[in-house]
């Protein structure tokens, strides 16, 4: 009897413990998101600010060639980034899973450390490498591969390298976390039954690591559209991402409703990808995110 009473009492106090989280979430996550949705249907005021006049124009504006092109270019860059991180990161995660326990730990730490260090600082390192007459130019001229500086900084390849570089750890960790748990006996069985290495890889390994591939793709693709500072620093503002577009609409053009509409579209795109991912893999959390 006494125990039951206690339990009831603790239940009634439970709301006090979750209240701060609920309040913060509703006030500072739900609130801003709803306001963004609201704002995307408002009209921009003549000079400064917004007018509460319902309109669809902000969404229609995205289809204007200038903005649509930026959106498509940004999507292409994100797809290219995702594809390259997959091609480069897959073997890495796969080989890592085959290492001894001690080396696994060491590699894990080595992969995670750059990931926690400031992204700006790592981009800054690439500036020094890519600059005209910088380290890469000197090295290439030194071994006679080129005679003139390549002028790689402030170009598309530089931005692509920066994007791949900053998002690669996500892919590696996602692949590794699946490959590490994989049952290698399936592959041995396939090999014993006469499958070639390539056959065994394509039919078994790829299938078994698919959840990792998918979660890596999601973890790379989603942030890639917003990394405006990479195109700022390594692209010199020549390459526009959706992120740059949103930033410019906020700070330069000051068309907040349009920026909100862009964000809503990006948010919907993000949610669709996550939902699709959950549907395919039946996993609620992304593999290897923490």
């Amino acid at each position: 009897m006494e125990k039951k009473e206690k339990k009831k009492k603790s239940k009634s106090k439970l709301w006090m413990t979750v209240a701060p989280l609920y309040i913060f979430t509703i006030l500072f996550v739900v609130g801003p998101l709803i306001y963004m949705l609201n704002l995307s249907f408002m009209t921009r005021a003549e000079v400064w600010g917004v007018v509460k006049k319902f309109t669809f124009d902000n969404y229609l504006k995205i289809f204007e060639p200038v903005y649509l092109d930026t959106f498509i270019e940004s999507l292409k860059l994100s797809l290219a980034t995702t594809l390259i991180t997959l091609v480069v990161g897959y073997p890495f995660g796969y080989f890592m899973a085959k290492l001894s326990a001690k080396w696994k730990k060491i590699m894990m730490l080595l992969v995670v450390v750059p990931f926690w260090t400031n992204a700006l600082i790592r981009m800054y390192g690439w500036i020094i490498i890519f600059r005209s007459n910088g380290l890469l130019d000197k090295a290439l001229i030194g071994i006679g591969m080129t005679e003139k500086p390549l002028k790689l900084l402030y170009s598309y390849p530089a931005v692509l390298v920066g994007m791949v570089y900053s998002l690669l750890p996500f892919m590696i960790l996602a692949i590794y976390s699946v490959a590490e748990k994989m049952d290698w006996s399936y592959i041995e069985a396939a090999r014993d039954l006469g499958a070639s290495r390539l056959q065994a890889f394509l039919t078994i390994t790829v299938k078994l690591t698919l959840p990792g591939i998918l979660s890596g793709v999601v973890l790379v693709f989603i942030p890639s559209m917003g990394l405006f500072f990479i195109s700022d620093i390594l692209g010199g503002g020549k390459i526009m991402l959706v992120g740059n577009l949103i930033r410019d609409q906020l700070f330069t053009t000051r068309d907040w409703p349009f920026a909100a509409a862009l964000s809503v579209v990006l948010m919907i795109l993000t949610s669709l990808i996550i939902m699709l991912y959950r549907k395919i893999t039946h996993v609620r959390d992304l593999e290897g995110i923490l």
């Binding site: 006090m16 701060p20 306001y35 400031n118 800054y124 600059r131 005209s132 989603i222 906020l250 920026a259």
Partner: protein, 258 residues
């Protein structure tokens, strides 16, 4: 046969070198005498002295530290208490709120930055430390929440039952039993949150005022205007700081306390 086993190792090593190359380059050039990164002029520690002489950098460092401390403390409080409550709660809204509360680390940072910027100006909050703290707390809370929750699921409930049977109140049992058990998770979650706050540039750009600079904002604006080896020195110091925090977080998080 030997070749076959070497190739993967070669690949791992090569990629590792590329991964660390930009970081190593930044560190080495922080000791460069020459002002230009295209010329190597010999070793010096003058740029480090310059960093400490620059009062605007010291101001930015102070801001970053205050911001990091405040937001990770808020995250520690809300995240921990929230996780403790959420594990027991059976509300219908639980799953949804839990999902939404982790959104700040799921959606692209730029969206979070943008929604905060427009929302804070709607509320007419003065842009500066207050808005920075709220913005940073939003992405710090999920780290603490997720780590503490994972730890709570793993602890043996019989300890708490025993304490209660012996007459301990709910609060007492929490303070004496649960808290010591989950404290490594709290501390490591908070350290991680602190490191994330210290490194954040995207959210900060959107929610800071004209007068409040944090270190990453300072680095960002200097990278866009002119580059001096002073930034290399500053970056190296920041790398060192983050590294210490992450290692500390790992060591404390893995320590088993009974």
């Amino acid at each position: 046969m030997k070749n076959k086993t070497r190739l993967p190792h070669l690949y791992l090593a090569l990629l590792m070198i590329i991964m660390y190359l930009p970081i190593v380059v930044v560190i080495i050039y922080s000791f460069n005498v020459s002002k230009q990164s295209t010329i190597w002029g010999g070793w010096t520690i003058n740029w480090y002295k310059e960093v400490f002489r620059d009062s605007s950098l010291i101001e930015a460092l102070k801001n970053s530290l205050v911001l990091g401390l405040l937001s990770c403390s808020i995250a520690g409080l809300i995240g921990t208490i929230g996780a403790v409550g959420m594990v027991k709660a059976t509300y219908k809204s639980k799953g949804l709120v839990e999902y939404i509360s982790t959104l700040p680390i799921m959606i692209p940072e730029i969206i979070l930055g943008m929604v905060f910027m427009v929302f804070f100006s709607l509320l007419r909050l003065p842009f500066g430390m207050i808005t920075l703290v709220i913005g940073h707390a939003s992405f710090c809370i999920p780290y603490v929440f997720m780590m503490v929750k994972a730890r709570l699921v793993g602890i043996d409930k019989s300890y708490i039952e025993a304490a209660k049977d012996l007459g301990a109140t709910e609060v007492r049992a929490f303070l004496d039993i649960t808290l010591p058990l989950i404290s490594p998770a709290i501390v490591s979650g908070m350290l991680l949150a602190f490191a994330m706050s210290l490194d954040d540039v995207v959210i900060s750009i959107f929610v800071t005022g004209a007068k409040t600079n944090t270190l990453p904002i300072k680095i960002y604006t200097q990278l866009k205007t002119g580059i001096t080896p002073k930034i290399n020195a500053l970056s190296t110091l920041m790398l060192l700081g983050t590294l210490i925090l992450v290692i500390l977080s790992n060591v404390i998080g893995k320590r088993k306390r009974v």
